[in-house]
């Protein structure tokens, strides 16, 4: 089996992301919340998530500024602080889930005997969001070329946007479906897998450490420490 390098098993990443999210939001008002965040940040750094962390820093800064500012308008300083903490929790959970590569997730789900068409649909959605971004840019430019402006004739602009968009959706999906069928894909066959996404030693280590810290903090939360 050809094994490619990847950080953490995708399904494990998803589960840990969800757990971090839930527990983080529960622990927001605790005194040791910062310790909690720092512990898991160090854990992620040990497991080489630095690239994803760097990617997510801009979002963290933007939302970390906007959200507390909005809360400050209506509430107190402590409310704003809690909302900042909530943003950090979202960011932490996001690091794990964003680091998942779709192709690895799809292969892992295939191994869990999830129907192949669900996995294929997931890939198509992720991939074609980029393609349709370009298509929408072309449509908006075509609207400019025909001299239609949104603020002058909004109804006409809406037509000029939605109808070509629907036509493009129909023709692209038709071409893609034919291409998939002629490449042997069918909804009821099982097919094989080029590489298996295995649960490696590092996944077990990560899981142990993760669960240890999580249980520790949960214990502290329950005991009211």
């Amino acid at each position: 089996m050809y094994k490619e390098s990847y950080s953490i098993h995708p399904v494990l990443s998803l589960i840990c992301s969800l757990l971090l999210f839930i527990t983080g939001l529960l622990f927001v008002k605790e005194i040791w919340f910062c310790n909690y965040l720092i512990t898991f940040l160090i854990l992620l750094l040990i497991f080489r998530f630095e690239k994803t962390i760097l990617k997510i820093i801009p979002f963290a800064i933007v939302f970390g500024a906007v959200m507390p500012a909005l809360t400050l308008i209506n509430g107190s300083l402590s409310e704003a602080l809690y909302s900042f903490y909530r943003v950090l929790v979202l960011v932490m959970a996001g690091i794990l889930s964003i680091s998942i590569k779709p192709i690895h997730l799809v292969r892992a789900l295939n191994q869990l005997h999830i129907p192949r068409w669900i996995n294929l649909g997931l890939l198509i959605v992720i991939r074609f969001m980029q393609i349709f971004r370009e298509e929408m840019k072309q449509i908006r430019q075509a609207i400019i070329l025909r001299g239609i402006h949104f603020f002058q004739t909004p109804f006409l602009w809406g037509r000029a946007f939605l109808i070509p968009l629907t036509i493009r959706m129909l023709s692209i999906s038709e071409g893609l479906a034919i291409s998939l069928e002629t490449r042997g894909f069918s909804t009821d066959s099982t097919g094989s897998s080029y590489e298996t996404v295995c649960f490696q030693k590092r996944d077990s280590v990560f899981l142990c450490l993760f669960l240890t810290f999580l249980s520790l903090y949960t214990f502290m939360f329950i005991r009211g420490l």
């Binding site: 050809y2 002629t182 590489e195």
Partner: protein, 466 residues
Amino acid sequence: MSIAIEAKNISLSYDMAEGKSDLERHWIFKDLNFQIKAGEFILLTGPSGCGKSSLMNIINGVIANLKDVYIRGDVYIQGQQMTGCSVQERTAFVGSVFQNAREQIIFDKVRDEIVFPMENIGETPQKMRDNLNTLLDMTGLLPDAQTASLSGGEKQKLMTACTLAMGQKVLLLDEPLANMDRRSAKQLLTLLKQLSENENYTIVVIEHRQELVLPHADKVFSCIQSPLPNVNMELKIYENKRDYQPYVYSHIKQKENEIADLKETIFFVKDIDYCIGERFLFKHFSWEIKKGERWVIVGDNGCGKTTMLRLLYGFEKPTSGHIVSQYTKIEKRKSIGYILQNPDYQLFMPRVKDELYLHSTSPEFVEELIRLFEFEDMLDRHPLSLSEGQKRKLGVACVIANEPSILFLDEPTVGLDSESIEQVFYSLTLLKKRTREDLTTISVSHDKRAIPYLGNKILNLNKIEV
């Protein structure tokens, strides 16, 4: 030699009315019979919209998925009867490669895309790895390359590799060279020819760019007008490709002699650079366009023809340098008419009439255009219900109806028959009269026969040093 593809009396009609006899029904083609032997390389060619793709879709079974059609006759591939077999069952015998590779790629990496069809048919991982290495050597692609950053030619090579991965000995390719530059096209055709000669693959290529494919083809199947009144086309088989004459336009009027008036400059391209990623499309490029001139930009696929139009219009900005125009942004948008390559982006009104009269300046000119393009019967129809050729003509007519003084045309003759092309050229003449000879046109075209009629000044982007 064994027979790879055999067709017996295949007929196709979109006329689904029941109870009609054969003479009453309108056929695209009727009772076609042909045999293609194993190891042959066939070029299937003909005018746009004649039914070549439909013929290919009947062989690979895809036609049933497309529209409601009435099909008769039998197809045999490698001796097996295909009637009643689904598309998936036929993929065991025949592989298909379609155009628009960009809209068919679903994976991020080249390796995953090539492996995908092999996973679908249940190959063992070892066989997948061997096949993958062979295909990567054949096509020259790198396994870890990002599919989004491949050029048009490389994407098409990737799709061909995907089909080859399934191991069928019969391949059908529908316009594979559409977005490819010459070099990639030659590489792909050489690869297909090698497979045909050495490994006994049967290759059928549908292509307009006949001059590229003819040197490699063994036989030519040409779609010609059928003499029967209720049938569109019939197939003429040239056993010897030397007997085949490439398709020419009929009834093209003589080019008018024009005197280029030297008037003021409307666009001044000053020493621009333009790069996509690390690749430079233009480097220290300068150009001057004067009023009344008629330019044609030519060059290979991917060399920047459409990008130049977009730079002139203002949709793109050059990496360095600038484009000076006497028009402000708003004036530009009012006076430049831009005919896009794909009319689907521009047509959105409920009726053909509404499209033509939208923003038109004079109703008499619109009526003149309606008469010229023969839209009288179609005025109340929905624009999207027209055929591809009619939609393109409508796209041209809508832009011309606004009487722009500068006209950008992006591949105006692709997909049109000779009569329609003539109508397009005549409409440009009409527009020139309306604008009192001040019309400036900049066209992009790779159609050698149309270039003399589109303009008298040529900008060849292939010859520009980058």
